[in-house]
Point group: C2
Chain length 308, copies 2
């Protein structure tokens, strides 16, 4: 089983409006809801790839109940979310149908009490017993200590289980120092961590800060990996147009599934790039298009660089 952790799980709401005009009133023409938060997205992609997946983190209140109900509709994902008293956050994407552009609103998330955090740590240790790999994903809800990911990385490492950490800011900085197997920053997160906007030196710098491997997302240009085995760049055969929401989460699912299958770095990166491309190209945000996945993964271009 692969374990995904989403401490700040969410209900992702999408509104479609004919045209977004600030300071006016809009009739929402379409409203959809899906379970969200990066780790939940990763779990759903892993399940679609045929992996056994367990999703943990926190869920609370009426919104948390909806997240769990929607998650139950995905037979591939086992729900191991830990209840919290405060309410799970919503994220809202308002899609302007005239331009196709999206305006995003993210609630901060539930206030987690020290007792709830302690309960989560106990549950996490129990779940690790059956896990072959762990993904730690996304922001920390209020109340969770900023060093939370460092604790979770160390606990998994002590149990001999590889960890992929995908977060940002101070949570990433502290988590990296605990030496996760992999991190997957995008260019902005990497720049914030290292102070450099030049992807190759910054990716290598991030490795020196503690991650065994750093896979930087370069958007439509693919992935750049600095690892103990070397440096690679992997790019899709052509840039795909579409909605990039969830593309990073699909890359995490690709990297982690390939890791548990014992594939080498070029094969891991190929899968991650193809899944990202298939997510950008899917009709619904955060889903992936299986046909694009099959098509792209035969033609991802992986270029080896100098040893990392």
């Amino acid at each position: 089983m692969i374990l995904t952790v989403t401490l700040n799980a969410a209900l992702d709401v999408t509104y479609r409006v004919p045209r977004l005009l600030p300071h006016t009133s809009h009739r929402v023409t379409g409203a959809t809801e899906r379970p969200g938060g990066k780790g939940v997205n990763v779990a759903r992609v892993l399940a679609a790839l045929g992996h056994q997946v367990t999703a943990t983190g926190f869920a609370g209140g009426a919104v948390g109940a909806v997240v769990r109900e929607l998650l139950a509709a995905d037979p591939g994902v086992t729900d191991a979310l830990v209840p919290c008293a405060d309410t799970t956050r919503r994220t809202l994407a308002v899609v302007d149908e005239a331009s196709g552009d999206t305006t995003q609103f993210n609630e901060p998330g539930p206030q987690i009490t020290p007792a709830e955090w302690a309960r989560f740590l106990t549950r996490y240790e129990e779940l690790l017993a059956g896990a072959r790999a762990v993904a730690l994903c996304g922001s920390l809800p209020p109340g969770v200590p900023v060093g939370a990911y460092a604790v979770l990385v160390r606990t998994a490492r002590a149990a001999g289980i590889p960890v992929l950490l995908d977060t940002s800011g101070e949570a990433l900085r502290r988590g990296v120092a605990a030496r996760p197997e992999m991190i997957k920053p995008n260019a902005a997160e990497l720049a914030e961590l290292t102070g450099s906007r030049d992807p190759l030196p910054a990716t290598r710098d991030a490795r020196r800060r503690g991650a065994h491997a750093v896979v930087t997302s370069l958007g439509p240009a693919g992935l750049l990996a600095a690892t103990a085995d070397g440096t690679w760049q992997a790019a899709p055969p052509r840039p795909l147009s579409g909605n990039p929401t969830g593309a990073g989460d699909s890359a995490v699912a690709g990297l982690l599934s390939a890791l548990t299958e014992g594939l080498d770095w070029p094969a891991r990166l190929t899968r991650a790039v193809a899944l990202s491309a298939a997510t950008v190209h899917a009709p619904a945000a955060g889903e992936f298009d299986p046909r694009t996945y099959e098509e792209v993964r035969g033609s991802v271009k992986v270029t080896a660089g100098q040893a990392g």
Copy 2:
């Protein structure tokens, strides 16, 4: 007891953001929820005035459950909402803290089945047995026949109970023809009903279409009433700045409470204008400020016009 009907009840969500920038991502700094829909707002104001109130309409799904839970926290309002299978709508107000302006998003509401509508009609007749007055408020959710308010007006009239109808568009046009005791359009709704933008002739025209009395909201300028007893304009002593959300619902509560207390038109209009002003002046949208209410109701200026 006063009965309020909110066929399209809502969960009113308010997001505060530092500045609204379309097509970017926003961290929501404050998120609040309250039970909403015009009739629910009217019920809460009536309860605050000390009246026994029962709120009916539809509530369904996870959002409907939250509406009912929040409503239960108001001891003055009896919840007689009828369950529906589809989910109650949310409305979202995004407040730009830099400008103070609000951008509104309204979901359409639940799809009501013919069986649910029939169930509502039965419940409505039961509730009428104990009602001294009825307020029919707001939009119709999908699936409810467009002539719904005409049916509800006729049923109440047959039971000898006065009805105030506060809606818009085709639902108003059809409802008016069933001869409600009062309607309370704003200037835009009145113009849509009558084709005239001149408030006095349009208000009188709306009476000829069937309403026994028409009370038109003129925004900060107060109310204009055309009734069988005459025509009046009622204005606050000074324009009050603030958030006009809910001011119309407070006016409805003022008119209806004064009607059940047997007050004459100048006293009804005075109460409605003072409650509206106190709502505009309240710190939270849709609440009213009791001090402003007491202060303004001593100084509302009511001017009699020609017999309506």
